[in-house]
């Protein structure tokens, strides 16, 4: 009788001998020295660095919320209701002069709240052209807004084309509205701590799911900015030769997918960490909101001024 030994199970083993190319020196390496030919930093790198910087700046804005300024002394609910009223006024106001006054009032409020005025103005005006240009530029032409042409741009299919007075006025009105509205929203967010603001939203009966999404988005945005920077830096560390534009495009596309996956994973972890510590959708703060006489006075003042502005605008006084 013969016995046949059972074959040993295959167990994956760690290779103990490194490949030759790994233990030898690569030949034909580029000489290690300067030749005086330089390239400017890639647009992509600058964009990513700037975006990450802006996000970091926005996240550190919470420090502004703790300063002893005018708006910081108000209850977040007062600020939210006041913001709503002023946003309505800005949307319904037809007077460029009044909108300009409202914008200047917002900047004055920022100064009184010890918000760095220059960076506040810069932050708003950086985004306003971006969001309004697409709508505003065509609207200045007589093709969209009929009127008196002040800047002729030639003819198109036999018709004169140009920028009209009415178009320019409409564009200015829209730009002023957007700038004022964005400024008001930014001002409220930089002068309120995030937990108190969320808590205020819940007190005003904003749906819990909305507040939860806002909370998660705010908590995640910094990690996202960091991840974008890390992914790009890791790639740059392994990029030996100049990249082609198409290569950069491919990288941006692929990175978007990777980021989505990472974002999804980390968001889920953050949410679990919140749930583990008893989070059920309610936002609570160490400093509970307190509605005082100064809040009532601020609300009355905002509502009164808003009504006056709207009446003046409707009556065509300004």
């Amino acid at each position: 009788m013969t016995f046949v030994a059972e074959p040993e199970p295959t167990v994956p083993t760690v290779p103990t001998v490194s490949p030759d190319w790994l233990v030898g020196r690569d030949v034909g390496l580029c000489p290690c020295g300067c030749i005086g030919r330089r390239r400017r930093g890639a647009v992509l790198a600058r964009t990513i660095d700037s975006a990450a910087g802006v996000t970091r700046q926005a996240m550190t804005a919470d420090e502004t919320a703790t300063r002893d300024g005018l708006l910081q002394r108000l209850d977040p609910r007062t600020k939210l209701v006041g913001l709503l009223v002023l946003l309505l006024v800005a949307s319904l106001c037809r007077s460029l002069v009044l909108l300009t006054v409202l914008y200047l009032f917002t900047v004055a409020l920022a100064a009184a709240s010890r918000v760095p005025v220059w960076s506040f103005v810069k932050r708003v005006w950086l985004f306003v052209p971006l969001f309004t240009a697409v709508v505003v530029v065509p609207a200045t032409l007589n093709l969209v807004t009929a009127g008196h042409i002040v800047v002729p741009l030639g003819t198109w299919f036999g018709h004169p084309v140009g920028v009209t007075t009415q178009g320019l006025r409409g564009a200015a009105l829209l730009t002023a509205r957007v700038a004022t509205s964005v400024s008001l929203a930014v001002l409220v967010t930089v002068t309120s701590s995030w937990p108190r603001l969320l808590s205020g939203l819940r007190d005003l009966h904003v749906p819990r799911s909305f507040v939860m999404v806002a909370a998660m988005a705010h908590r995640y945005v910094f990690h996202l900015a960091d991840t974008v920077t890390d992914v790009y830096t890791a790639r740059r560390a392994r990029t030996v030769r100049p990249e082609s534009t198409s290569g950069t495009r491919r990288f941006v596309g692929a990175s978007a997918g990777v980021l989505f996956g990472k974002a999804s994973h980390l968001t889920s972890e953050v949410h679990l960490a919140m749930v583990a510590r008893g989070y059920t959708g309610e936002s609570r703060s160490l400093r509970p909101p307190a509605f005082r006489a100064v809040d009532a006075a601020a609300l009355v003042a905002v509502a009164g001024a808003g009504c006056l502005m709207l009446l003046a605008s409707r009556a065509g006084l300004v």
Partner: protein, 234 residues
């Protein structure tokens, strides 16, 4: 073992628990485990063996595909945790320190971060603030109180993450790779803290690869194998 006589500090019992991600990638396969009150347990095993998943199930953050999990005498299910009272009772008894501190630190300041748990437990702002101050002092975080958590070093982040859980004074503490990425000084600090928590009668479950942590924890080790099952226990 300093077992508690309070029935609310009962065992954590997993019976035949299996779990897979997306229904395709197994993480745990018929795992049964009982953690007694006041016990110190080191969860060891290879990467991908299911240690983190097991901790998430013990923390009521993931739920078994099959098998049961009972804690403090009650079944812990997604449905049960939707009950407000049970959720509050369970969450205030079981604290979980995540491996990735960044995931755990989401508030604008260290102070708000530490206060998050007690405020959600329904403690008043004054009591929560008092507890936060105590923890800031205990963990030597006072100077960082008004800093943003993401501006801290890894060691500081870990201390804030631990403070944010300790402030709820849970009876059971779960740690996922607590000493990973910590410098030797912070590791020593953490092991001393672990000793103190163990002496105070807390139940400690620590998933770790770190030999020093295993030695210091000392009481019982459970090993998860590559097949996602318990392969050994001391």
């Amino acid at each position: 073992m300093p077992a508690s006589s309070d029935p609310a500090d009962g065992d954590l019992e997993l019976a035949g628990v299996s779990y897979s991600y997306l229904g395709r990638f197994p993480a745990l396969d018929r795992v049964s485990l009982t953690v007694e009150p006041g016990e110190r347990l080191a969860l060891v095993g290879c990467n991908g063996g299911g240690k983190s998943t097991l901790l998430k199930i013990l923390a009521g953050l993931a739920f078994p595909d099959s098998g049961t999990y009972r804690a403090f005498g009650h079944d812990v299910t997604e449905d049960a945790l939707e009950d407000e009272q049970f959720n509050e009772a369970f969450r205030s008894r079981v604290g979980f320190v995540f491996q990735q501190s960044d995931a755990q630190l989401f508030s604008p300041t260290v102070r708000e971060e530490i206060a998050f748990g007690p405020l959600n437990m329904g403690l008043g702002a004054d009591v929560a603030a008092e507890r936060v101050d105590d923890l800031l002092r205990l963990l030597e975080l006072e100077e960082l109180a008004d800093r943003a958590p993401y501006q801290l070093s890894e060691g500081q982040k870990k201390r804030v993450a631990i403070a944010s859980v300790l402030v709820m004074n849970p009876t059971t503490l779960l740690f996922d790779e607590p000493t990973a990425a910590l410098d030797p000084g912070t590791q020593r600090w953490f092991l001393d803290l672990l000793d103190e928590l163990g002496r105070s009668g807390k139940t400690l479950v620590v998933a770790t690869h770190d030999l020093a942590t295993m030695d210091r924890l000392g009481q019982r080790q459970v090993e998860l194998g590559e097949d996602h099952r318990i392969v050994g226990a001391d």
